[in-house]
Subunit: 209 residues, 2 copies
């Protein structure tokens, strides 16, 4: 199994943290996004969407999308469970993971991709060119803040994002906080529950992955 990775990018780090929590030793192949290697002919055969992470199985099957890679690894390496154990835990994990992805990380990508000079014409990932929309960067900043506030409320009375256990929803939330710091959005002073949680999860060994 090989992970197509980029050490500096937010999305593949989610898979690296996930794998580290399970003590899975993944062979990684670095794709240099700054040099545009994701658009190369050879990488398009791995992932036609031209994004990392991508997981190539030993038989050549390629799995793209963080959610799909994590579900695959969970099934093949079940311990420790990062999608909960019961049906309700699974649903709670997927619900929070989806919220953080679609409300938080999507907004954060809007900020980054619509406001970074070097990404002109790349307002969405992938091979199709999309122009930047300045209003979308602004809207994204608000979306990230709303999501951080929603996480703070959730963490009032809940040890972790999806309940009393560490899960893939926590991995996505760590990445949201760390990615937001790129554009100087930090955890607000008053978000004490989020701060307490972040201090705990970001000091786990996996956070250095």
């Amino acid at each position: 199994v090989k992970l197509y990775d980029c050490k500096t990018a937010p999305s593949p780090r989610r898979v690296r943290i996930f794998a580290a929590e399970k003590a899975i030793d993944l062979e990684t192949i670095e794709i240099d996004l700054a040099k545009g290697e994701q658009f190369s002919e050879s990488f398009r055969n791995i992932n036609p969407d031209c994004v990392v992470p991508a997981l190539e199985l030993d038989d050549g099957t390629c799995i793209n999308e963080v959610s799909a890679i994590c579900q695959y690894l969970e099934r093949v390496f079940p311990e420790p469970p990062l999608f909960g154990s019961t049906a309700v835990e699974l649903a709670t994990v997927v619900m929070w993971d989806t919220k953080v992805e679609q409300q938080g990380l999507a907004a954060m990508r809007d900020v980054f991709r619509n406001s970074t000079k070097g990404l002109k014409g790349h307002a969405l990932t992938g091979p199709v060119s999309y122009e930047q929309i300045a209003e979308l960067a602004e809207r994204g900043r608000r979306g990230v803040s709303v999501c951080l506030q929603s996480l703070n409320e959730r963490l009032n009375g809940s040890e972790f994002v999806a309940g009393n256990f560490f899960s893939v929803a926590a991995v996505s939330s760590i990445e949201l906080v760390d990615f937001a710091a790129w554009v100087k959005i930090t955890i607000p002073e008053e978000a004490t529950y989020l701060k307490r949680w972040y201090d705990a999860v970001s000091s786990r060994p996996s956070a250095t992955a």
Copy 2:
């Protein structure tokens, strides 16, 4: 188990189709989105994001997000499997479901919410007001077309979206095609594989759900 539903909205229909494929008889409670019932105090207690679908379990636990509801139903009602059977099938299903959600349905929501007069101030779902961005509606139309084309290529040589079996990825794709028709985006003439697939899946009894 109760499903908070809206008969005319795209997202809850995905859960209804999913449940119909498994012959699960879900009690439904209609939330009138046109009247703004999703913003009522009582519904906010079910889903603070103010969107349907939401699934309320018998112990009062609420599961939001289509992905989470479907994963829950899959675990509790495993037959027939709609997330595949093996780890690779599961990963392939989640990969395509995520692609259709994040590339296709998200773009379609951008079109609809940024161009519908009655949705001014509601360019994103939920309780926070966001102004419409006309450019985003335009960009969304292109995104929907790109996703339909990507599905057409995939369906060249693959009976269903995620392989040789019907899955939740097909459910999301049906909804993408049907939702796109709201804004007069139809399957292009030349997309013959997509057309063949759509004719087959939309004639399944579940498609009337």
